[in-house]
Amino acid sequence: MSPSLLPALAANNTWFAIWPEISLGCLALLLLVLEIILPVSARRHIPTVAILGQLVLFGAVLADFHNGYVGHETFNGLLRHTEGGQIMRLFFILCSVLVFWLARLTLARQTMPKIEFYNIVLVVSAAMMLLAQSNHFVMLFVALETVTIGLYILVSYTRSNALTLEAGLKYLIMGALSSALLLFGIVLLYGVAGNSALPAHSGGAMHFPELARFLTANPHNSIAAIGIVLVLAGLAFKIGAFPFQIWIPDVYQGAPTPITAFLAVGSKAAGFAALLAVMRNVFPAYEWLTTPVLSIMAGATIIFGNLAALTQHNVKRLIGLSGVSHAGFLLLGVLAVAHTPLALGAVYFYLFAYLLANFAVFGVMVHLAGANDPEQELEHYSGLAKQDPFLAAVLAVGLGSLAGIPPLAGFVGKFLIFMAAYQAGFHGLLAIAIIGVVISIYYYFGWLRAAFFEEWRPSTELAPRPERTPANWSSKLAAAVLALASIAVGFCPGVFGHLLHW
């Protein structure tokens, strides 16, 4: 390091700007230390410590929401702090807490070392937070890879299960492919922006504003266009959009349930945060290209996700494919962002509604799963309402919100997205979305039908149903909070209204 750089760094000491991410990293290290120093009997409290730590962090970030960094770049333009970034920070902390909650129940049935699992979840969450604030393709790629590599480990964590291993392998191969596509796209953009024969060329075109300047000066460059499509393709893997959704059913089924939830909510949201960043800050000049590409993607994603989910019997595959259709609805919101100010808030709102609903459903799923985690069939839900009305009610709220039924939060999310899409003029896609909603009612309803309307008949079943775990008080509390939050946000969406600046 050259001597002149040190004073410059000291003068521009912006490490404090990323204190939430650093705190999460420290918390992750603390867990490892605690595992070494605590006696064996006390180690089961380590996840509780982590959950409490994250809740404190959540409160601190919320209190520090409008800090001095918002609207500024730090680390020489690697990061840009925005209100959207602050919202996503809160989102990822919440997501991580809920993954911990699920993991405590699921890991109790396994004989794996446990602390490493929590440790990796924390690191991945920190990386997701950085990803949402990245302002530079190096930052975006490094953060995305940290997320992905962490998830490679987590997906195949219960390595004694054949389906889990298969899921891990599939995720590894598809993830590597998507990273390669993304990287190739970045390289093409960087390369073409450095061509000194072109106007506004720049050597620093990894930086979003620099690249955006170049793209604005060259709005019809074919190499840049290929690069943009490849970057979108790489991100489409993360959000599970058609035609890059093929890995979803197998990986979602094989991964441990908390990680399925982490993929379905955290990883998808991280992909959308990155997509929003590039769509808003880098690619506006190429709207002629991104709009048709994303439109086709959104329409096909909605249709594919819903049709494929219709035939599923495994609930993990079902929720994965329903998540694909949700990615389509969110893409509709992303498309509208360029045209109407309503859309950005709508996307964030939808993500939060999706988080609340999904974790409510996953919270019920972990109570019904046995030691063989990938085996969670729709039939296992029959008679749930009689045996455990509380879990059945939580399931109903979660699925109802995912289906977008008033008065639940998911309805308001869909309503806002539809309104934004209508204002932006995507009428054809809106028609597809509405057909998608009607189809989705069928499979969400089928799930509820098993839980509420069907009796459990042990004699007709070949494979025995896994033993259900009754919910303890802390699980009940968490599930009730999630369900009530879905209802409360649906009745009074304004809780987020001021946060999202409508």
Partner: protein, 497 residues
């Protein structure tokens, strides 16, 4: 705007929902059941209060009791704005009456898991009151869905034959209808440029700068078919008889009586005034579907029914045909007839479903072939059922008569041909109605009925059953003999726009 301390509309919505929440949070059964009487009575009392004070109340755009509560969506032009105009008021009162009758009957029924059953019914009641009290289009839709969800669950869990299939079919049809109408509502909101879902603001904005005629036609079509599916417009009606056949009685009373009126109400209160040029291109087609589909085809299908509850379900689909015909006229006269018919039909169909279930308790069947001779043992029940049937046919003295008569007069001006078809429909409804009375209550008891009567002696209507039936029948007779109690408000609301 300062908020009044006593807001009858909000109280009518919140009271049932508050008890539903309390039950969900674990209120003991004893208290749930006792408080349910109160929670169902409050909307009724508030409805009567609104009806009594409506004429003298201060009005804004024809709406009385206007209040506005911010729910944090004001940036989008959405707020919980409550108020009733002359069209909403009669329906609001009707929802209170039918809700109380259905609630009373449910509390005294032997439903399994009564607490949950009452909770769902209370949610439905809260939603129903909200539909007719909302001035904000967003909340109008919102409350409809709130009332709709319990229907699916109640049909699926407490329903009769084919309950799961019926629940699923209803869910898919009604979601499609709701989605189409939502799309139409969003389209009107965006195109109006009013940045508000407030019906008064939308009305003022669109009166100043109307939407282009061709666009109005498209939007109206979207609303017409969206709402049409919800009101069982032929050929999108197949969910209705199936669903009502399977639904538990209180749920069928509330859905067929009140909730189904949402679609008609939306057409009258939103589509017609906001899209005044939208109806004309569709009027002829709508009249053909309603006259030949709903009235004649379904009328004939109703005659062929052997199942009492299915027959009532089909007859309700048929009567919706008259309502659509009245809307197709597009005149204030026709629409006033529709509003009146909506109120009267809501009361009479609820009464019929109530009585059908009491009959089922005596005979253990809905099949009319296995009944007969019930009138000798249960004369009061026979009298109630005959009265409800006469009301449904449209005999003078009952509310339905005025509604249908007004529609026929309006229809004559629209097209005498359609008027003739509609009047022919009355004969069809007389045929199936009177046949049902004859097969259930007169003649000799069928062998199946005799066997059943040996096991359990047939009792006449108990007082627990008579109270809700009397309430509904009394209301029907009241508006039948004193139609001006509603028409003054309806006509002034229609004349002012």
């Amino acid at each position: 705007m300062s908020l009044p301390l006593f807001d009858p509309l909000l109280i009518a919505i919140v009271a049932p929902l508050a008890l539903a929440l309390a039950i969900a949070l674990g209120l003991p059964k004893r208290w749930s059941v006792r408080l349910a009487y109160v929670a169902f009575a409050i909307p009724l009392l508030m409805g009567l209060h609104v009806w009594w004070h409506f004429a003298g109340a201060a009005k804004d755009h024809g709406y009385a009791f206007v209040t506005r509560y911010d729910t944090g969506l004001s940036g989008l032009g959405i707020a919980l704005k409550l108020g009733v105009n002359g069209i909403a008021m009669p329906l609001f009162v009707m929802a209170g009456i039918v809700g109380f009758a259905a609630g009373w009957y449910a509390i005294n029924s032997a439903a399994e898991r009564l607490k949950i059953y009452l909770m769902l019914l209370l949610i439905m009641q809260g939603g129903l009151m909200g539909i007719f009290a909302s001035v904000d289009v967003f909340y109008f839709y919102f409350f409809h869905e709130l009332a709709l969800i319990p229907t699916f669950i109640m049909v699926g869990v407490w329903g009769g034959r084919d309950r799961i299939y019926a629940a699923m079919k209803m869910t898919i049809y009604l979601t499609l209808g709701a989605m189409l109408s939502l799309l139409g509502l969003i389209a009107v909101y965006v195109k109006s440029g009013a940045h508000s879902f407030d019906l008064m603001v939308l009305h003022d904005t669109l009166a100043a700068t109307p939407i282009a005629v061709l666009t109005q036609k498209h939007f109206f079509g979207c609303l017409l078919f969206g709402f049409g599916i919800l009101v069982s417009l032929w050929p999108f009606h197949t969910w209705a008889p199936l669903g009502y056949g399977a639904a538990p009685s209180s749920n069928a009373m509330l859905h067929a009586g009140v909730l189904k009126k949402f679609g008609l109400y939306g057409l009258i209160q939103i589509a017609l005034p906001l899209l005044p040029e939208g109806l004309a291109p569709w009027a002829k087609g709508l009249a053909i579907l309603a006259a030949f589909g709903n009235v004649i085809v379904i009328g004939l299908v109703t005659i062929a029914q052997r199942d009492l509850k299915q027959m009532i379900g089909y007859s309700s689909v048929m009567h919706m045909g008259y309502a659509f015909l009245g809307i197709a006229c597009g005149t204030a006269l026709g629409v006033s007839g529709v509003v009146f018919l909506m109120v009267a039909h809501g009361l009479s169909v609820a009464l019929l479903f109530l009585l059908a279930t009491t009959i089922h308790h005596r005979t253990q069947t809905f099949s009319m072939d296995d009944m007969g001779g019930l009138g000798q043992k249960a004369p009061v029940m026979a009298a109630f059922f005959a009265a409800a049937t006469f009301a449904s046919i449209g005999l003078p003295g009952f509310g339905n008569f005025w509604g249908e008569l007004t529609i026929f007069v309006a229809l004559w001006k629209f097209s005498p041909g359609f008027c003739a078809v509609a009047v022919a429909g009355v004969i069809l409804s007389a045929v199936y109605g009177l046949r049902a009375v004859a097969r259930v209550f007169y003649g000799n008891a069928s062998p199946a009925a005799l066997r059943q009567a040996e096991q359990t002696p047939v009792l006449d209507l108990t007082w627990m059953e008579r109270i809700p039936a009397l309430l509904l029948l009394g209301a029907l007779l009241f508006i039948g003999f004193c139609p001006a109690s509603l028409t003054v408000a309806i006509n002034s609301a229609l004349a002012s726009r």
